[in-house]
Symmetry: C2
Subunit: 557 residues, 2 copies
């Protein structure tokens, strides 16, 4: 059965009833969106401060294949299993983007019997958060060109505007565009471009903001570009934009509650895409969940080199969150892929390739244990075609490295299939104090921060950049030297070349572009030719997605 077919058979409980029973949240603090989605009031969130925090578990993965390794699936399965074992757990997930949904990857609400529901709604618009972020972003864009059109009192250098436009769609034709064509009535001609909504600084701001006040202040601090002296920043607050933008985000800032197939609560709030953004769910959601449950299972996108790195070095650093353990998701398929097997042959046993591709897992594990000082449980997300010999080899190799390794069948069996995983994880979590070390210190210069990430985590021998980019980094160093760095890099490889599988080393990471995200409070460093607007494949998923005459969605998986 397809994911969507399983999801459509779910016995969902009304979310307001469920949140009341499981978490004791009064109905008046929940705004329903249909009967199975709800937003939680910030007033309720703000009144939880006196409670003790639960334990935080981070689910991350090896470098994935294009289909993903099942991080969300594992997060859901593990959370369901912890609940099955008699504990209380909440899952904190990221909201899906419409881009991959209509592109290659399909939906992003888990899979098999470890899903969050209503799956169609979560994948299509959900509670409108991404649309709100997109329109808040594009309002600022419109205000910039409008300001220049009406006389440019702020003296904005139209050649140095950093603030692009966004759309929640994979649309390569919009990566680089010319706006303002067609004569004086349409304003001034200039180069511009679109990013996908999840790459918007507003997504990062929403994910990192700690209150409505903080949100608006961060929005006001956004640097949209520079004045004609080339160095004086122009802020969103110079355009009086922050109030209207915050107004547009008035609902988006509230965490969204849904349920798993096993009727456990999941909070889905904030943005995905750890390749081009920081890729974590909101701090508000994670902190709220920690007040409401003994265990919180959250995910950080793509491989641990991207997702876990940014979760730990950006999100946790800014918010004070401290995970107790990491679950590293791997699949036999992906490890064979890293061992050089073609996509079409991944269902056939291949011990040699598995052996070879294991280097990818090994480096991620080493990064988590050695560089972050976090305990790590390896979860083999089981696929039907995995052979006993392959599984045995994998377990042996993990244990040789001193790591617990559990084969988990939550995709096929739901929480019941992840009970062993849950037991291993709880054994670790319950026996240590939360905490970890950052990979770089905030006092380190920006260049050195990037270099540290590249050399320690990516296995590179160093980083390089054009004189122009180096000069930009030097300029940013003056006023923003303490900012963490948000790396934008392909998720397919430790290097900047998506085709270099396994654990490449000795490579040099080219930083091709840097961007200041002053409201978010970090510097974006783009490695290689990573793009902040994806494209669609030759046959996009959109072509198979449909709706029946009775309103049932099909083809979404």
């Amino acid at each position: 059965m397809s994911d969507i077919a399983i999801a459509q058979q779910a016995q969902m409980r009304p979310i307001i009833d469920l949140a009341g029973e499981k978490l004791g949240i009064p109905a008046e603090h929940l705004d329903p969106y249909g009967h199975y989605k709800a937003k939680l009031s910030l007033e309720y969130v703000n009144n939880l401060t006196d409670r003790e925090d639960g334990k935080l578990i981070l689910v991350t993965a090896i470098s994935p294949t294009p289909a993903g390794e099942g991080k969300t699936t594992t997060t859901v399965g593990l959370g369901d299993a912890i609940n099955r074992l008699g504990n209380s757990a909440i899952m904190c997930l990221r909201e899906p983007s419409l881009g991959p949904c209509f592109g290659v990857k399909g939906g992003a609400a888990g899979g098999g019997y470890s899903q969050v529901v209503p799956m169609e709604d979560i994948n299509l618009h959900f509670t409108g958060d991404f649309h709100a972020i997109g329109v808040a972003h594009n309002l600022l864009s419109a205000l910039i060109d409008n300001h220049i059109n009406h006389g440019n009192a702020l003296d904005i250098d139209s050649r140095r505007i950093q603030w692009k436009r966004v759309v929640d769609m994979n649309d390569r034709a919009l990566r680089k565009i010319t706006v303002g064509m067609g004569g004086p009535a349409n304003g001034y001609l200039r180069e511009d471009g679109y990013d996908i909504v999840v790459a918007s600084e507003i997504m990062a701001i929403l994910c990192l903001a700690t209150s409505r006040v903080d949100l608006k202040e961060r929005l006001g601090r956004i640097v949209i570009g520079y004045k004609s002296d080339r160095v004086t920043p122009v802020y969103a607050s110079d355009l009086n934009a922050q109030g209207a933008m915050a107004a547009l985000l008035k609902e988006a800032i509230k965490p969204n509650l849904v349920q798993t197939l096993e009727n456990n609560i999941a909070i889905i709030h904030g943005g995905p895409f750890a390749n081009i953004a920081h890729g974590c769910n909101t701090v508000t959601a994670t902190k709220t969940a920690l007040k409401l449950a003994d265990y919180v299972v959250t995910e950080a996108g793509f491989g641990a080199d991207l997702g876990a790195e940014k979760f730990l070095d950006i999100k946790c650093r800014m918010s004070g969150l401290k995970p107790s353990a990491v679950v590293l998701v791997a699949t036999v398929r992906a490890l064979k892929f890293h061992g050089g097997v073609a996509k079409e042959e991944l269902n056939q046993e291949n011990i040699d390739a598995l052996q070879k591709g294991f280097t990818n897992l090994e480096r991620h594990l080493d990064n988590i244990q050695r560089h972050y000082g976090l305990p790590c449980v390896i979860c083999i997300n089981h696929f039907t075609f995995d052979t006993d010999a392959e599984i045995a080899l994998l377990k042996d190799k993990c244990e040789a490295l001193g790591a617990k390794c559990v084969v988990s069948k939550h995709w096929a069996q739901g929480g019941a299939g992840a009970e062993e995983l849950a037991q291993e994880v709880l054994a670790v979590v319950d026996n240590r104090e939360p905490g970890f070390t950052y990979v770089y210190d905030e006092e380190l210069p920006l260049w050195d921060k990037i270099e540290t990430i590249a050399t320690k985590l990516y296995g590179a021998i160093g980083i390089t950049a054009s004189p122009k980019v180096k000069a930009e980094i030097n300029t940013l160093q003056q006023n923003h030297g303490k900012f963490p760095v948000c790396m934008a890099k392909t998720q397919m490889s430790f290097s900047t070349n998506p085709n270099e599988r396994g654990a490449p080393s000795g490579h040099t990471v080219e930083i091709s572009e840097v961007r200041l995200a002053n409201g978010a409070g970090f510097i974006v460093a783009i490695a290689g030719d990573m793009m902040t607007m994806p494209g669609l494949p030759k046959v996009p998923a959109a072509e198979r997605i449909d709706i029946t005459d009775d309103g049932v969605i099909t083809g979404l998986f």
Copy 2:
């Protein structure tokens, strides 16, 4: 008190309770969006067919000033008054667009004590319908460029793509753009442009579709452009886009229920902007309301030359709806404006200007009565600064034309202020069979349809077009000759010059562009230099819109 301050004091009832009590709608057919907005299931809508229809009342206006004449306010006040008089009435309104909300006009949910609430939510995102329309539109745009990028098997002529992109924002810089810049990875360079979401053909399709099946068929029929032979149309269905687009609209197709300040039900569904679109709420909403109440009050945007014309010649023709009467909203201020008074001096008595500007009302009235054969009640939407002498003159002049004219104070007093208006309207409605005549017959050639509208309704002596546009109209005539015409014209004047106030005559209307809206089933004829993407003013409303630390929206009016 500002509109928003009044709205925030409203004693709202939970919408599901209210819809149950007032209309007998079972809770399971309502999807809540918060506690005060809900979507009605299509299954419930489809089960109403056996019921008798109520009477339909259309509220339209004279040519407005930039602030609007209070059509929505009057629609709400009149509906509240009909309910106060012991009858059942539902108001059918159009959803606000974010463009004018952040631009000149502000919100669009009524005013004073005749508003629909929750006012902030209705103005900001509402239930996400416009975002769904926007992203469905932009998905098709992305699929077009993606198809060309991957080999263009359909042989689309990239110079003849008609399908633009959309955003729900006033953004003049996007009117004309170049996409696909930056080299091969970004596809092929071509000219493109953005319209505001309300001008999207998908908005019209959603408003005119009669079922999910009809919606998907219409989406598939969209003509996105032509093949390299220049004449063979390329349909959205050639790109297999209609299923995914319909899936994105799965919730948007359901009517939205809210309430007025007096706790009467209003259905707000579908698109505004009768200057650049057909500008009516959805057929589904209007037909549903007619099954649920004895009287349905609906609005059609801007002046009657645009709003009422398209309501009658497009929406009613396609759906079989038959209004019983028209309410023509006028203000003393706007008539003085038409008499030549500057905006800053409209609050001062000026009998001469009123006398002179009355020609605008006179022509709208004549159009409604003579060309459509509909009875018309004139509603003077009362403003504080209106003098007794001005009101007396206005009433005299209307009565000399044989038209009932009521001074209505619903803005200040709510439904109580519109009781006299309601009595006059019901007296008319209850004493005639619903029905009217179209201004043009569907068999008339396209050119003649446009000419008929221009000469009969606009007071023009004829229409003109460049040889290129004439040739395009001739081409469209071959396969789409029976389509009605959706005029895009400034709302400020009967002519194409927004500065020609009153009732200009003897002018010639230039048709500058025609577009085929094959899914909607009409031809768009753009008159003069009307633009389908507005711009922001020098000081946009966005600058004053804000949110307090407690989450209360301010500056939205």
